[in-house]
């Protein structure tokens, strides 16, 4: 990845106001989640007297049905949501890139087998499969990350494969072979650096998908278990009180919405910036 491309990203980011906003918002979420321990409240400490308070000076986001400070809980929930998003993106990118490059580079029957496998996986409604798997495995963050990762890498694999197909025809890949390079090193040193922008874009968009999936799974009670919470599981427990405490659904709901939106906007910006002939007419 070279400097010029990063400069392109920077330029695109500052040019596009939505993009800048999305970026700043994500950074704010990230910092807030990281420094959640600074909150004066214990996210798991119940206090029945304070239950279901509306947002006020002491409790910024009010309190939940057990009287826990909702703001603090939202922050800790952000940790889970973001961590699951990032980690499952990494799982998906690693599997997707490996399968995609191997499939594209070697071609032939290897390509056929891998791509058919990908198609089979894609054809199964993954959400139900996830539900099923989740029921058999011990619920928790690791399980979530692995399951979401295992069911979202196929898109990445297909994109990476098609990019690999085009890169491997380049002269320098032939030259790498001509100078005695092994296939593994040709892939890691010559092909992957060239498709890195694509992988980054696909990865960014994948985070958004992962966060959504995590929320849905947690909403159905299959994700993070009590007393820990993620935005999705908070929505789940909030639905029983939607009439008396609207804020319980509002905050985690909006946070999911904004985070996913931000990642999507960011992915779009990266795509424009990395594209050889982008919207600004800049040549490669």
């Amino acid at each position: 990845m070279n400097k010029r491309k990063w400069n392109g990203v920077k330029r695109e980011l500052f040019k596009n106001k939505y993009a800048l906003m999305a970026f700043v918002l994500l950074i704010v979420f990230l910092i807030a989640a990281l420094f959640a321990f600074l909150s004066p409240f214990d996210p798991n400490k119940m206090s029945i007297i304070d239950k279901l308070q509306s947002p006020n000076g002491k409790h910024l986001f009010g309190t939940d049905e057990y009287g826990r400070d909702y703001f603090t809980r939202v922050l800790y929930g952000a940790r889970v949501s973001l961590a699951v998003g990032f980690l499952s993106m990494i799982v998906a990118v690693v599997i997707g890139t490996t399968v995609g490059t191997v499939s594209g580079y070697f071609g032939g029957w290897i390509d056929n087998i891998l791509m058919r496998f990908v198609e089979v996986l894609m054809s199964i409604p993954s959400f139900f499969l996830m539900l099923l798997l989740n029921a058999y495995m011990k619920p928790g963050i690791t399980t979530l990350v692995l399951i979401i990762g295992f069911f979202t890498w196929m898109e990445i694999a297909r994109i990476v494969r098609s990019e690999t197909l085009s890169i491997k025809e380049r002269e320098y890949v032939m030259y790498a072979k001509a100078s005695g390079q092994s296939s593994f090193l040709t892939i890691t040193k010559h092909i992957i650096p060239n498709i890195a922008p694509t992988i980054i874009i696909a990865g960014t968009l994948n985070i958004a998908t992962a966060i959504l999936m995590e929320s849905s799974l947690s909403f159905l009670g299959l994700g993070v278990q009590q007393p820990n919470s993620s935005w999705g599981s908070m929505l789940n427990s909030a639905q029983g009180y939607i009439g008396e405490a609207w804020h319980l659904t509002l905050f985690p709901g909006f946070l999911i919405l904004f985070t996913v939106l931000c990642f999507n906007v960011l992915g779009d910006v990266l795509r424009v910036a990395f594209e050889p002939k982008g919207a600004n007419g800049e040549k490669k």
């Binding site: 990845m1 070279n2 071609g107 032939g108 380049r170 002269e171 320098y172 032939m174 030259y175 790498a176 072979k177 001509a178 100078s179 005695g180 390079q181 092994s182 090193l185 040193k189 010559h190 650096p193 060239n194 890195a196």
Partner: protein, 329 residues
């Protein structure tokens, strides 16, 4: 006679496309001695590059080496595994390709690309490899080599990139350097610099050189022996001087006539070769040049064998059937 380095016998390489089998190389035989400079000339599509890639076993699907033997220092290259080939590629046989702009990876620094080859074949550490890369860049005439190593290919000019390619390809002191149109993408002044550099290096490193080009001037200046390829076959073979002064095959004759002469100051019209090269999808049964040959005879419908014209020359043309050893003009 010097030591035989490379021997190619009846090499046939085809590409299996949707339209059918494209026979790019249709039975080529030649040998190369140690330290020799062999020129291969021919127009586009005559099979030069495919032959070069076949020698290094770099033909990719849908291409396939159909038949033939390639013997490298007494060992059959075609029987070797990918792993054994890897030890030879870049180490004993090196390739310089046509276009330096696309032969270097645009997103990897020069230094990394150079040291990669050195570390792989010479089993030295990173520091030592970097030192060697600096030496090599000095050898190929690049100023401030340390700085160049930290640059990306797009920061350098075409001539510099080709120098770097040459530096990379001689980094392991190969026995044979195959230069596939090394100067096509460069302008004329740089061209001669690069060619001079290659012949100087060739003397210094004592390697053999196969120079593939469509530029007859380049061949005349740099090679000892030359193969003229046409339609996937070798039309004529011989020492450069004799072949150029007294071409035996009508195709060679046509090639030479289509070049501007500067000799006597008389203005002369160039004589192009009429027609176009044969379709390698359905190559003609007989001599591939028959359609364009001014001397075409009935017999040309049959593929001629090689006729020895004198001790070092042979040609694939019926004109020389009866006059083996004689001169034709």
């Amino acid at each position: 006679m010097a030591e035989k380095l490379l021997e190619v016998v009846d090499l046939k390489t085809s590409f299996y496309t949707g339209a059918g089998e494209v026979q790019a190389v249709r039975g080529v035989s030649f040998q190369l001695e140690k330290g020799e400079v062999l020129g291969i000339v021919g127009e586009s599509g005559s099979g030069k590059s495919v032959m070069a890639k076949s020698i290094m076993s770099l033909i990719q699907s849908p291409g396939k080496i159909k038949q033939g033997d390639i013997t490298w220092r007494g060992e059959n290259l075609l029987g070797k595994s990918e792993k054994q080939l890897r030890a030879i590629r870049g180490n004993e046989i090196s390739l310089i390709s046509q276009d330096p702009m696309s032969a270097l990876n645009p997103v990897v620094k020069i230094g990394k690309q150079m040291t990669e080859v050195i570390i792989r074949h010479q089993r030295v550490g990173k520091k030592e490899a970097e030192k060697r890369a600096v030496d090599l860049l000095g050898k190929v005439g690049i100023s401030s080599p340390e700085e160049r190593l930290k640059q990306y290919p797009h920061e350098l000019s075409g001539g510099m990139k080709q120098r770097i390619m040459i530096g990379m390809s001689i980094s392991c002191q190969p026995e044979l350097l195959i230069a596939d149109e090394p100067t096509t993408a460069l302008d004329v002044t740089i061209q001669s610099q690069i060619l001079n550099l290659m012949s100087a290096l060739k003397d210094k490193e004592q390697m053999a050189l196969i120079l593939i080009t469509h530029d007859l001037g380049v061949v005349a200046e740099n090679c000892e022996r030359v193969l003229v390829m046409y339609g996937g076959l070798i039309m004529e073979e011989g020492p450069v001087k004799e072949l150029f002064q007294n071409p035996k095959h009508p195709y060679t004759e046509g090639l030479l006539r289509s070049l501007p002469k500067r000799s006597n100051g008389v203005k002369e019209r160039l004589v192009p070769i009429q027609g176009s090269p044969p379709d390698l999808l359905n190559p003609p049964q007989g001599c591939p040049f028959a359609d364009r040959c001014p001397y075409v005879m009935d017999k040309c419908a049959e593929l001629p064998p090689y006729f020895k014209v004198d001790s070092e020359r042979k040609t694939m043309c019926w004109l020389h059937e009866s006059e083996e050893g004689d001169n034709h003009e």
